[in-house]
Symmetry: C2
Subunit: 325 residues, 2 copies
């Protein structure tokens, strides 16, 4: 398996050779724009890695990889409208730079282009297999986004519901990326299923880690504003774990802080962190993350290819899951 | 070929047997809602008719028919947001009854469900053929919607550009519906191509007729507010034909009226109609419609099946194109 930078080069070259049409410019310019905002392109790289576990080259999986990247960017473009997000990666979001109409329609056509690239993935049987995976996971991503929206206005969200939401909204696409790469390589069904589970479970672990890093991460290493979740009263796993395990007094105190704005951010952050800390929440959440991580790697281990073929993929996911919390 | 009411019954039964999931309700309820607003279901009926030209039954084409209907409703749901339309068929639009977020996300999942039904259309080769047609036409519909948006704020729109816009925005989907039915029936490529052209050209004729009916139709028979286009300063084919053929003084007068609001609707309608009438615009636009209509029926004639098999389809399209103008 080639390493990540080499795979990213392949993806960059493919995207250059397969640009969006130039007319109507107003429709396609925002598609090009969002693709240049500097995403990590982790998902298309996972498609290629899923392929290179079984084959020496992954050029055949490039259209599938690009389909996954376009789908991801379609969902970002529409989610940014729904979240009224002004910025993505420090640049204006599409609906902010243009307008909502543009972000809706350009997002729609990006989703359709994802399916156009899918249709180019080899023979008809392979395309149909990929189409079924893609349709399933695309549906789940929409369902996850809806659950996320629902949770914002709901008083009681259970930990299981929360895990299910992050699974649908983000984790299944990571699993499907690996699975699609394996399917492009005609891998045995057992192996592609283990890869799906690996990506899905690792994806849940990533999201749990994101919750931890937002509140406890090093702002420089994490690269985001720390404690944004606390200031925005987000129902993260830290919050839900507290409400499930802490004494009533701390639950009431946390509820109280979550009714307030961010007038005095330092005070709010310190108080909420103190509630988490005195209830051992970071350790509990870390444990939950490690459990998903362990299950994930068990599935990678079960894939029937020599261990050395898995090295790059294993290292990539390990590194992503070992970012300092 | 069975008649339209029989085919519509098949479609209604299929939709009943293939409901959207019930969870998350907030995501799928608007999908069910827009499907019950009483559209004519012309597009899925065309899929079945395209199929029954070649086969005695059309059950095999039902998933493709439903895919086309879902796609159409997805595009309505998103277009209604972009047009800020409060009503559709006298009922609140989705973004009005719920909100914009709901209309975006439920529209997205409807588009994905269209692809899910496509994936159920027979063997892998057929699915791939359908996927390619569907992807092409779905892209074109987005492009047509973008051109329509662009034209709203452009001073000069040529007749050719306008025809191209209505072709992309609505006509190609009618052609693709027939073509997809034929492909499900394994029809010869020549025949499915002629059916596509028939639907596309008839679709352009429909849209031209819509422009005529809006200004000159019998409000009871047409079932819409008459002269809405004039009051909304729409650049219809009547307007573009006037600007292309009428003397400067009338062009200036029309431009003048198109800068005004609808404060005195009766006066505005009478004045604009008078400009059209004294320049023989309705006759010119009717001629344009008839030319597309004739070309359309030439393609239907070219389909190599006995004339009696075409009877229902021919009569349906003739009736639609002979509504009183």
């Amino acid at each position: 398996m080639r390493d990540l930078p080499q795979l990213l080069d392949l993806i960059a070259a493919f995207s250059k050779e397969n640009p969006f049409p130039t007319f109507p410019l107003e429709l396609y310019e925002p598609c090009n724009y969002i693709l240049t905002l500097g995403g990590k392109r982790l998902r298309p790289a996972l498609v290629l890695m899923g392929h290179e576990l079984f084959k020496d080259t992954s050029e055949a999986a490039l259209p599938a990889a690009w389909a996954v990247e376009l789908f991801h960017n379609f969902s970002l473009m529409h989610d940014d409208i729904m979240d009224a997000a002004p910025l993505r990666r420090s640049e204006p979001t599409v609906h902010n730079k243009w307008n909502t109409t543009t972000a809706i329609l350009s997002g729609d056509v990006m989703l359709i282009f994802a399916y156009r690239f899918l249709a180019r993935c080899g023979d008809a049987d392979t395309v149909l297999q990929l189409l079924n995976i893609f349709n399933r996971v695309a549906t789940e991503v929409c369902e996850g986004q809806q659950l996320d929206i629902n949770f914002e206005t709901r008083a009681n969200v259970g930990i299981h519901e929360y895990i299910r939401m992050i699974e649908l909204k983000t984790a299944v696409l990571l699993g499907a990326a690996l699975e699609m790469g394996a399917v492009c390589a005609n891998a045995p069904a057992n192996d592609s299923q283990h890869l799906y589970e690996f990506g899905r479970l690792a994806g849940i672990a990533f999201q749990i880690q994101d919750d931890l890093l937002d509140t406890y991460g090093d702002p420089i290493k994490f690269g985001k504003q720390v404690c944004g979740d606390i200031l925005q009263n987000k129902k993260t796993l830290l919050v839900l774990k507290t409400l499930e395990t802490a004494p009533d007094s701390d639950c009431r105190a946390l509820h109280g802080w979550m009714q307030t704005g961010a007038e005095n951010p330092a005070e709010k952050i310190a108080a909420v962190r103190a509630i988490f800390d005195r209830n051992g929440i970071p350790a509990l959440v870390s444990l939950e993350k490690r459990q998903y991580q362990q299950k994930a790697f068990w599935h990678l281990q079960s894939v029937q290819v020599p261990e050395k073929r898995k090295k790059v993929l294993k290292k990539l996911v390990e590194d992503l899951l070992e970012r300092e919390s």
